[in-house]
Each structure stands twice: as structure tokens, then as C-alpha cells.
Subunit: 335 residues, 2 copies
Amino acid sequence: MKTYTVAILGATGAVGREMLNILEERQFPVENLIPLASGRSAGQAIAFRGETLRVEEAQPDAFRGVDLVLGAADNDTALAMAPAILDAGALFVDNSSAFRMDPTVPLVVPEVNGNDAFQNRGIVANPNCSTIIAVTAIAALNRLSPVRSMIASTYQAVSGAGVAGIAELEAQVKALSTGEKPVCQAFPYQIAYNLIPQIGQEVNQGYTSEEMKMQNEGRRILHLPELTVSCTCVRVPVIRSHSISLNLTFDRAISPEEARQAISTAPGCRLADDLAAGVYPMPLAASNQDLVYVGRIRPDLTNPKGLALWCCGDQIRKGAATNAVQIAQLLCPAE
Amino acid sequence: MKTYTVAILGATGAVGREMLNILEERQFPVENLIPLASGRSAGQAIAFRGETLRVEEAQPDAFRGVDLVLGAADNDTALAMAPAILDAGALFVDNSSAFRMDPTVPLVVPEVNGNDAFQNRGIVANPNCSTIIAVTAIAALNRLSPVRSMIASTYQAVSGAGVAGIAELEAQVKALSTGEKPVCQAFPYQIAYNLIPQIGQEVNQGYTSEEMKMQNEGRRILHLPELTVSCTCVRVPVIRSHSISLNLTFDRAISPEEARQAISTAPGCRLADDLAAGVYPMPLAASNQDLVYVGRIRPDLTNPKGLALWCCGDQIRKGAATNAVQIAQLLCPAE
């Protein structure tokens, strides 16, 4: 059996911690695990497979002898550390957005375009969380007939802003229950009992960076260079699963029954679609597991070649940590 | 000055109570106010203009001498009481959905199709709350060029399920904070920290009754019999303002700038659209007032004749009570 020395870059954040859980759950063949983080977090204790590890500072010389780096840090850290990771000969599976639009870096959701991962030159990019969930939900439909365009409205959990986002929602709910003024730091406005229709900064004709990822990353993952997407990203007071309302236009009409059939056997998906019985995807049900739940499949009443659907997935797991570990599993086999 | 004897049918619910507030705020020329409710609520005290009134049981003989009935009860009550209201010669402005699709009953949002109200034969229907908010937001755009189709994803507050909905969200948050199991009665599943993508029952090709209202009522209010709408209605853990993500297709292309100009002077609307400055509609800001906030106006990247936008409005006020009182103001002038 082959084993690997694995470093987690950003091991103390929400995604980094979940990567540790998932490596363990999936019995990834880890020889040594090296948790790395900023100098501020160095020295913290982290549990892995029953052992206690100490977080080390992420520095260029930390990657010597490492086979695989799972990146759960910000863009600046990813960019700063990439040369040292490549010099060390390690594979870098990076969850930041730093390399996602680099044409030499594969952008991969294993259930959708796993083969692309093998074209890597040392770096594989993990896509945006909402994009992973949406493309996992629709990949089987795209195989029936190519998706031409997509209108997406997201309902994104506070975990997208990391541990601080989750803590802020919980602290705000608590403050409001005792009549205190809620503190806003992770988000620009109160998120408890509210919605914030801005994630990221404006980059294109009034769309935010987060909204444009659905089109730009979706094109690369689905191999649809002409795909157009109009996305509205909204933060909602939900802990850790993102939900997305999608209206899709295909090359040819796909019936809801045909779509259900395809999704029921699609890798990474769970069909949850029986409205009369109260069965549909919900963030609570989709949390703490790896499948993207898909339901509310019905014709788009505005468009004979359209379908509407609703999907939910755990943002920290399939939307980030699980997808990265799945990529690593493709490229670092145990045998 | 002309004054009116006004009955509120369903005076103890969230909408009925708000109707009392709004009659007072708008100095509606009330001579006598008669709060009516089910036998269960009869005898309860209700405050109006500094006086304490006693709730009476809603029975057919309660409408003698009444000029105006504001209906805030369910469909069965509205249908049961309508003959007695008409016999008494009163005007019935009804917030239930019982008469909304009756071609002899005007369905009115005063800022959009106020003139229709004058065609009444004794009953005017108040539209669905999400529909009121959406059509108020887009009426000025529809005047620039007719809307051909609309894709809508809603983010609906718990107040849509009345006082019980609000109480349930608050009780669930409290229960969860102490590790208790949340009780689900007003909603089929936990709504705290969750989303429920079902409002109403399935009526058409997988769409719910609530979702079809956006098309069916939208057609009548906007005078667009061919309008097609694909709507996804989702309950969110927000107290009392509904939000809607809209993608609209027009007869001709409308630029975001032209749209902003039109909405900035549209009755019933407040333009809140400066993404770089963090200005956009949010449910907290839109609550406890009567305007529909409109922002995030941008081209629909999937469609050269399309626009995307985001709007929020207070579901209990403009989505229900205020709109009904505005209709009454049109038809029951003080002079």
C-alpha cells in the first residue's frame, strides 16, 4: 500500500478542520499529517486519528518531503506558498480561488470532470462552493443535453465566511434574545433574521465576484465555453448548507421524469423529489454528509426547453473539503 | 367629511391587527370600527385610536350598517361571509385568495392597476403577498416595455404563516439554544437555521399553489394575459419581509440605467441600488414600512432583453394590510 505525507494549509479554519475529518473518514492513506496555519495559530493542538498534532507555521520550508498539500487558506497564502509546494514536488489541491481561472490548472469536481485532474502540472483547483453544488446537481442533465444557460439564485449558509461566520450568526441570535445590539464583523450587516444579497465585490456589470464564479467556473467544469449564467448570491441565516434555485435551458427539451431518472443514478447526488409527500432538499437534511440533494424538478413554465430545480449541499464538505479530498483520492491512490 | 363604519374580518391575526394600525396611521375616516373574529377570539380586547374595543364573533348579521369590510380571514370564512357583506351593501376588500381569480372581482395593487378597483361589484381582492411585492417592484419597468416572462425565486418570511409562524421561529431558536427539540406546528419542518422549499400544495406540474399565484395573479394585475412565470417559493428564517430574486424578459432591451431611472420615481418603490456602497434591499430595512425596496438591477447575462433584480417588502404591510387599506382609500374617499 502506498502512503503519503499530507500537509493541510490553513488547518485551523472551518474547511481545514473538515479536511482532517474527511481524510480520516475516507481512510486516505496518510503516512504523516502536517497541519499548517498562520503564525498566529501555530502551536494549537489538532486531533487526527486519535493523535494530537501541533499546528506549524506555514512557511516555504514547511513543504520539504510533503507529497500532497490540501489548501484551505486564502488566495494570498495560496499564491505565496505555491512555488515552494511545487519545488518540493508535492501535489497542491487548492481551495482558494487563486488558480481557478488559470488555463494550465484543472478545475475539478470528480463526479463531473474527474479526468481533467490528470492534466495537472502540480496544482489542481477546487471550485467555488456554490458552483460545486450546482454542477454536481446538473452534470447528469448536461449529459442528456448540453446546458445553454442557467439562472441561479443562491441561499448561502454563514459557514461560507468560515468559523467566524458561524460564530457571528450564533452570537447575534443570542444578543437579540436578550435585547442586546448584535455585533457585525464577519458580515457587513446583521445576518440573524435577515438576508444579505451581496457575496464578494462587484466585478462585472453589477454582478459580484461570487456571482460570476457560477458562470466562469461552471464553463470550465462542464466543458461548456459558451454557457451563460445570471446568478444572484444571497447570504441566509443557515449554518452550513448552501441551497440553489436553478432554471436551466437545454439544447433540447428534457422532461422532469427523464431528469429525475438521470439524477437518481448520478454520482454524488441524492434525488429528493416528492412534493406531495413533503420530500425535497433542505439545508438541515443536507448538512454533515457529502451528497448534493436535488428536488423540486419541474418544467420551466417560461421556456419549453427549460427545467426548474432546487438543490442543497453541505458547503464545508462537498462544497469544499470533501471535493478537495476526492481530487486527492483520484491522484494519490492507495495502491 | 365623509366617514365610514369599518369591520375587520379576522381582527386578531397578524394581518388584521396591522390593518387596525394602518387605518389609524393613514387617518382613514373611520366612524365606527368593528373587530370581528372567530367565536374562539370573541371578547378579546383590541386597541384602536386610544380606545379599547371588544372583538365580536364574525356572523352574517354582524355586517348590518357596515360600509367597508377589510377581510383578513381564511378562504372559507371569506366565502361564508361574502353574501351577508354584499347584502348589507358594504364594500368587501378581501385578503384571502377566495375571489382572486374570479373575473368579476378586480384584483388590485393601487400603484399598478388602481383603476381596476372601480369596476368592482362589491368585492375587491387583495393579491398574494409575494405577488404584490414583485408587481410593485416591476410595474414601472412593465410600462417601459411589457414583461414577457419572469423567473422568480422567493425568500419568504415566517409572518406569511401569521402570528403562529413568527412565534414558531422564535420558539425554535430558543429551544435550540438550550438543547431542546424544536416543535414544528406552523411549518412542516424546523424553520430556524433551515429553508423549506414548499409553500402551499402542488397544483400544476410540480408547482405549488403559492408559486402559481405569481403567474396567475401577475397576469391579472399587470394586464398581461400571456405572461409566463416560473416561480420557486421558499420559506426562510426571517420575521416579516419577503424578498424576491427576479429575472425578467421584456419585449425590448431595457438598460439597467433606464430601469433605475424608472424605479426611482415609481409609486410605492424605493430604489436601493449601489452595490459598491453596500446599498441593496434587505428584509430588516424593508420591515415596518410600506415601500418595496428594489436593487441589484443588472443585465441578465443569459438574455439580451433581460434584467435581473432583487426586491424586498414588508409582507404584513404592503404584502397584505397596507395594500388592502390603500384599495379602501381609493373607493372610500374622505371627501
